[in-house]
């Protein structure tokens, strides 16, 4: 192994990213590194260290626990099959609160608008936001508007921040996954990402697939109704998909996760689109699904609780937590063999090979 690193003159193409690439926002390894090496050291504190979908903070002098989360939405196009950036902006943040175990209380909304955006488009987006917020029953209580010069934005970016209340006895945290726990998913995976891809320039195809964008707070409430302490981890597998979320959990909790791929619900059209583009549904984004890692003794009851709700009708048990291969996700494949399901590196790209 005679490599003298001091003599190393190879350009090391991708080792250090001198500039940000899209993959840094892709929810995969690059995102994780950005957080770990840049944001975490800069802002270090206990609430942040959890690296959950949001932070849970206890009010001074009380036992009241508040969940706080923020998310920015930069999807293109602004409207896509089944949903829009407006629906995403509400449901995405509601879901981040729900994944902290919180009941959503209120939201804020910040708009960064590119000069020239048609007013009618903005009005349409805001109307969709208002509808989505009303459906959840969460008010948008404050906001902000900024306009940037033409060419300095992509039409419209939205940020929403959410405040929620964490009920007593609820304790969800990525590090609570423990060997023997059971992994549940609340429905079919990959719908959102494929719906968005289907209208991208250069990739378009005709399909009935619609985004699954939906608020998940009622599903989490249904899980807690079975037994609050039985719910160990909650995640909504957005960017990076099921594979990204499970890898994060495995790494955080230092456990292995075994996924039975045959049991993961995937719509036929989503599977087909993935075949066509050379993508893996496990890596495709969702906006209305949750992963729950629960105590084994509660798994069946929680599965029933999910299935009893319209958004969880296709919920399934898809895997379990193990003390083997800590930090890794292993798949039992369609033909009953084994494969490693690595964390996604950056954005998912269609392939020909």
């Amino acid at each position: 192994m005679a490599i003298d690193l001091s003599q190393w003159t190879c350009p090391l193409p991708l080792r250090d990213y001198p500039s940000v690439v899209l993959g840094h926002g892709g929810g995969g390894k690059l995102s994780a590194e950005l957080i770990e090496h840049l944001f975490l050291p800069a802002f270090r504190n206990d609430a942040l260290a959890n690296l959950a979908d949001g932070a849970v903070v206890t009010l001074p002098g009380s036992s009241t626990r508040l969940a706080l989360t923020t998310d920015s939405f930069v999807v293109r196009p602004l409207f896509f099959p089944g949903s829009s950036i407006g629906d995403l902006a509400i449901n995405g943040t509601v879901n981040d609160l729900a994944m902290c175990g919180a009941h959503p209380l209120c939201l804020t909304a910040g708009f960064i608008i590119e000069e020239g955006l048609p007013m009618a488009t903005l009005a349409q987006v805001v109307a969709r936001m208002a509808e989505a917020a009303a459906r959840v029953g969460v008010p948008v209580v404050t906001g902000d508007t900024k306009v940037v010069e033409k060419g300095h934005g992509d039409g419209l970016f939205i940020n929403t921040t959410g405040l929620g209340l964490v009920p007593p006895a609820v304790e969800v945290n990525p590090s609570r996954a423990r060997p023997g726990d059971v992994v549940l998913v609340s429905g079919t995976v990959g719908d959102h990402g494929i719906a968005v891809l289907s209208v991208r320039e250069g990739l378009t195809f005709e399909t009935t697939i619609e985004s699954d964008c939906a608020p998940l707070h009622e599903l989490t409430a249904a899980l807690f109704a079975v037994r609050p302490d039985g719910v160990h981890v909650l995640r909504d597998p957005t960017r990076g998909g099921l594979a990204g979320a499970l890898n994060e959990i495995a790494a955080r909790a230092e456990v292995g996760i075994v996924l039975d791929e045959r049991t993961v619900p995937v719509r036929q059209e989503v599977q087909a689109a993935c075949e066509l583009l050379g993508l893996d549904p496990l890596y495709i984004a969702n906006e209305g699904k949750l992963i729950a890692i629960v105590a084994r003794e509660d798994a069946e009851a929680m599965l029933e609780a999910l299935r009893a709700h319209p958004l969880g009708a296709q919920a399934a048990i898809i895997g379990e937590v193990t003390d083997q291969h800590a930090g890794m996700v292993i798949g039992r494949t369609a033909i009953g063999a084994t494969r490693v399901i690595p964390a996604p590196i950056g954005e998912q790209l269609p392939r020909i090979c």
């Binding site: 289907s198 005709e206 036929q268 059209e269 087909a272 066509l276 020909i352």
Partner: protein, 107 residues
Amino acid sequence: MCLGIPGQIQAIFERDGVRMGKVNFGGVVKEVCLAYVPEAQVGDYTIVHVGFAITRLDEQSAQETLRTIAQMGLLDEECDTDAAGAACPIAPWGGAAPPNHSPQPNA
């Protein structure tokens, strides 16, 4: 190198003088160039790579392959005289095999 997916031709038309078609892949419909499968008709299955049908899928061969695999254990027990399992005297393809437990090639 070559992701190729079977889909069923739904419609055939011409654009810019090129034979094109709509191909259905399990519910996803994509425009595909059919210039290289001049014999293919609506209803036929083709294998599509980067938006081009590169061959017509021979449905009979597909069934035969599946049938042969499905009967493998049975056939080999009969001709297992050769320890290496080398030259099975029974033709590997077609003919001999009654389709009694051929699997359903369905999605």
